[in-house]
């Protein structure tokens, strides 16, 4: 029973191949199955936060049952989670569609929670930190889709020159998503690394390090294809208004503050 619950948890704290469902939900919002093309950012934002909580709840339930705390079982899921994380981080390198990019990063990031769970790291704060760090990017990608029809690398480069306010918050959002300090995701990674090294440094640090390295590469691909470069002359660019720009900047600063303040609890 514990085993089945853990497998089910792999839908919400994504493990490949169950991750396919979470990935689809994130790309399309709650109308994923209805094949609705309209992006619904707040639905996806809610999914971003709720899915991991359900996963953690299922894991907690599984571990409370007899046999649920078997080290061999948890080791197996930790390896599976680490492999899923690296697998999706590798796939992230060639993702050019913004929705696919965000969903693959989500899977790669949340899969690392399994590594932490196996080594005694409490999953709730890191999971929330990793999800919340992705939230601004998800919303900004939807802004791009609203303006240009699709959020895609390479279609409309040079936003730093035509939409400077948008570019600035977009850069902050990408850095937060790929766990650059002071993003909560950075502290989550640090917390998993510090806590997991207690039990097995290789199983903890190897997938963590590889995934994080590949996220950085993918993040620069995203920035290079959207923010940097020569802008197109045939497009109309509409920058963010001052108020939404301030709201995004405030949200990013709040995330940074939350990360700094939560590190004590995560270690």
């Amino acid at each position: 029973m514990s085993f089945l619950l853990l497998i089910l948890a792999g839908v919400f704290l994504p493990l490949y191949p169950q991750s396919i469902l979470a990935s689809l939900v994130l790309r399309r919002g709650t109308d994923a199955l209805a094949d609705n093309d309209q992006p619904r950012p707040w639905d996806k934002a809610a999914a971003l936060v709720i899915l991991p909580l359900i996963g953690i709840g299922l894991i907690t339930l599984a571990r409370s049952l007899p046999g649920g705390d078997d080290p061999a079982l948890l080791d197996g899921f930790a390896l599976w989670g680490g492999a899923t994380s690296v697998f999706y981080a590798f796939r992230l390198l060639s993702a050019r569609d913004g929705q696919i990019w965000a969903s693959q990063l989500y899977v790669s990031a949340l899969a690392l929670i399994w590594v932490g769970i196996d080594h005694g790291v409490s999953p709730l704060l890191p999971a929330l930190a990793l999800s919340a760090s992705l939230l601004p990017l998800l919303l900004l990608l939807d802004e791009l889709a609203r303006r240009f029809g699709i959020a895609r690398i390479g279609l409309y480069p040079g936003l730093s020159l035509r939409m400077p306010q948008f570019a600035l918050v977009f850069i902050g959002a990408v850095l937060a998503a790929v766990a650059i300090p002071l993003s909560p995701a950075f502290f989550a990674i640090a917390g998993i690394a510090f806590g997991g090294a207690v039990s097995n440094e290789l199983v903890t640090l190897l997938p963590l390090g590889l995934s994080w390295l590949l996220w950085t590469w993918a993040g620069t691909n995203l920035l290079g294809g959207i923010v940097f470069g020569q802008p197109r002359e045939d497009l109309t660019y509409e920058d963010l208004d001052r108020r939404p720009a301030l709201a995004y900047a405030g949200a990013l600063l709040a995330l940074a503050a939350a990360g700094v303040l939560s590190i004590g609890a995560m270690l």
């Binding site: 396919i20 990935s23 689809l24 590798f90 796939r91 992230l92 390198l93 060639s94 993702a95 569609d97 696919i100 040079g158 730093s160 020159l161 850069i171 850095l175 650059i180 300090p181 002071l182 950075f186 990674i189 640090a190 690394a193 510090f194 997991g196 090294a197 207690v198 039990s199 097995n200 440094e201 290789l202 903890t204 640090l205 963590l208 390090g209 994080w212 390295l213 950085t216 590469w217 620069t220 290079g224 923010v227 940097f228 470069g229 020569q230 700094v260 303040l261 590190i263 004590g264 270690l267």
Partner: protein
């Protein structure tokens, strides 16, 4: 002192935020605001260093923001002074240099931000702050190097820099995780005290913790300090603005030397780990210097020169001369920043007026006229081989007799010998009307430089590591078996002396070695001019990984 230490990074950060918010209102005055903050930063750094010189111990300061702390000791205050002074120079230079740049305000925001982060790194009092600042330096450098967002080349090379720095970030994360697990603390003073009390801890995999952490710290340092084969990013950063190149080559690239010194209390408990630093540093200094000779572009020439110098810095750490590495990076920072900032003017002047006085140096370097070597090559070779060795040996004996008991010191003496001999050989090769007079002047200058170098080096040793037992422990950690060491020194000395005799003989006969073994020389030249194909290899690897990722995604239908 606690207030001063906290104020340094916060002041620079505040300046960055102020410029970002008020740029539309400030206009071109952003530069003056930023330069003013930089000047104030420098004054505070001088004050902090002066205060620490009078202090008797070190201090951990917790500003009350999360778990972050700052560590005030002689190393951190000296480095803060160096960073703030280089930052001031770069700021003042940038005020006019960047004036016509459309991203004028953005440049100063990033400049202030990176100075803030570097100050945080050198003042860090705990592993988490150090890790965080270490990571952020690479990220901010990426944006500075990619300042001209329209140019694909700038973005590409900025990515190379960030990726290489990232490769160095990960070993540091691993080292921090292992040290935290082993000693249960993030605070540096407590960590070092715990390590001194229990140096024999092992990791979960049964490896010695100090050796494992030491090795990981070295790898992190190698990436930041452009050691071979993680050097490819350094020469390609010339697409960034000149002030950024100056800041990078004078400041940021020295981070590896600082990191090794910061973790000196870890390295004294290691066995053979520092030998890795010697090997990598030596390879880097030789290859960097060779590739420097291949360059026709002045900035790339300087870039490879930095690579060679960084290799030497890491090698000094590997030999146990940790404080010498700090002295080296400070001296290198000053002269390299000067060279970079002057290179732009030099290029401009050369475009207007390429005339160079047609003296002996011109004939030698430009028209390649081989002057007739003066007098007997045997006498000159004898002087070249013996005099520098006597000067270097004598200077050390005068200042600190005990210094030459250390194996690392002997190796450094050999390098001093080679440097002096190289200078005297150049006098022989250029020739001129009064070769022995020129030789006398060069020998006098060399002796003075070496004496000052040894005096200042000794002062740095006493400042940064006042405990003689600790200094001794560093050299011990770098030492090898005595018999093996003696054999190495004898072989090296014979090779060096024999090599110079060979070079003198062929120069006197006006038969350059490069002509004698032309085919091998041309092959080597081609290989080095392609920078050993290392960057080509990395680029190919990157392309193949991207292609594999695309194929995988396509096969899985992107879900």
């Amino acid at each position: 002192m606690a207030f001063l230490a906290s104020a340094l990074p916060l002041l620079s950060l505040f300046s960055a935020l102020l410029i970002q918010v008020a740029a539309p209102r400030l206009g071109e005055r952003v530069a003056r605001v930023s330069a003013g903050a930089s000047l104030l930063l420098f004054v505070l750094a001088v004050w902090l260093f002066a205060a620490q010189l009078q202090a008797t111990g070190t201090r951990l300061v917790e500003p009350g923001i999360g778990l972050f702390s700052l560590y005030i000791d002689w190393l951190s205050t000296l480095m803060a002074l160096a960073v703030s002074s280089i930052g001031l120079v770069v700021h003042l230079y940038s005020v006019r240099y960047m004036r016509d740049d459309p991203g004028y305000a953005r440049f100063f925001v990033l400049l202030d931000a990176i100075i803030a982060v570097i100050l945080l790194m050198v003042l860090a009092g705990d592993l988490l702050t150090l890790l965080l600042a270490w990571h952020l330096v690479g990220v901010l450098l990426y944006f500075l190097l990619g300042h001209d967002t329209r140019r694909e080349a700038a973005t590409r090379y900025a990515f190379w820099t960030l990726f290489t720095h990232r490769v160095g970030d990960l070993p540091l994360l691993a080292a921090v995780a292992l040290l935290y697990h082993g000693y249960g603390t993030l605070a540096l003073p407590e960590l070092f005290a715990g390590m001194a009390a229990q140096p024999d801890l092992t990791t979960v995999l049964g490896l010695p913790l100090t050796d494992t952490a030491g090795l990981l710290i070295l790898f992190a340092a190698f990436a930041k300090s452009a050691q071979f084969p993680l050097h490819t990013w350094l020469p390609y950063t010339m697409d960034g603005p000149t002030p950024v190149s100056a800041l990078m080559h004078a400041g940021i690239v020295n981070a590896g030397g600082f990191l090794i010194n910061r973790f000196a209390p870890v390295f004294i408990h290691t066995d053979s780990v520092l030998h890795v630093a010697i090997a990598v540093g030596l390879a880097t200094t030789i290859l960097g210097s060779l590739m420097m000779l291949m360059q026709s572009d002045i900035k790339k020439h300087l870039g490879y020169s930095t690579m060679g110098q960084m290799g030497y810095m890491i090698m000094e750490c590997g030999l146990g001369a940790f404080s010498l590495a700090i002295y080296h990076l400070l001296a290198h920072g000053v002269f390299k920043a000067t060279l970079f900032l002057g290179s732009g003017s030099l290029i401009g002047q050369a475009r207007k007026d390429p005339n160079i006085p047609e003296g002996e140096v011109y004939k030698f370097m430009v028209t390649r006229e081989m002057p007739r070597p003066p007098l007997s090559w045997v006498i000159f070779a004898g002087i070249t081989i013996t005099v520098p060795l006597l000067i270097v040996f004598g200077a050390h004996q005068v200042v600190d007799q005990g210094f030459l008991h250390h194996q690392g010191a002997i190796i450094l003496l050999l390098f001093g010998w080679i440097t002096g001999a190289q200078t005297l050989f150049f006098v022989y090769k250029v020739g001129g009307d009064r070769p022995f007079a020129a030789l006398a002047y060069v020998i006098l200058a060399f002796a003075l430089i070496i004496l000052v170098y040894v005096l200042v080096g000794h002062a740095f040793d006493a400042l940064l590591y006042p405990d003689p037992a600790f200094r001794e422990a560093l050299y011990q950690a770098a030492s090898v078996d005595f018999t093996w060491f003696v054999i190495q020194v004898l072989v090296l000395s014979l090779l060096i002396a024999g090599g110079w005799l060979l070079v003198f003989r062929f120069t006197a006969a006006q038969q350059p070695l490069s002509r004698r073994w032309r085919h091998a020389y041309l092959n080597l030249y081609a290989f080095l001019s392609r920078e050993l194909y290392v960057s080509d290899l990395y680029a190919r690897l990157g392309e193949q990984l991207m292609a594999a990722s695309r194929r995988l995604n396509a096969w899985l239908r992107w879900v």
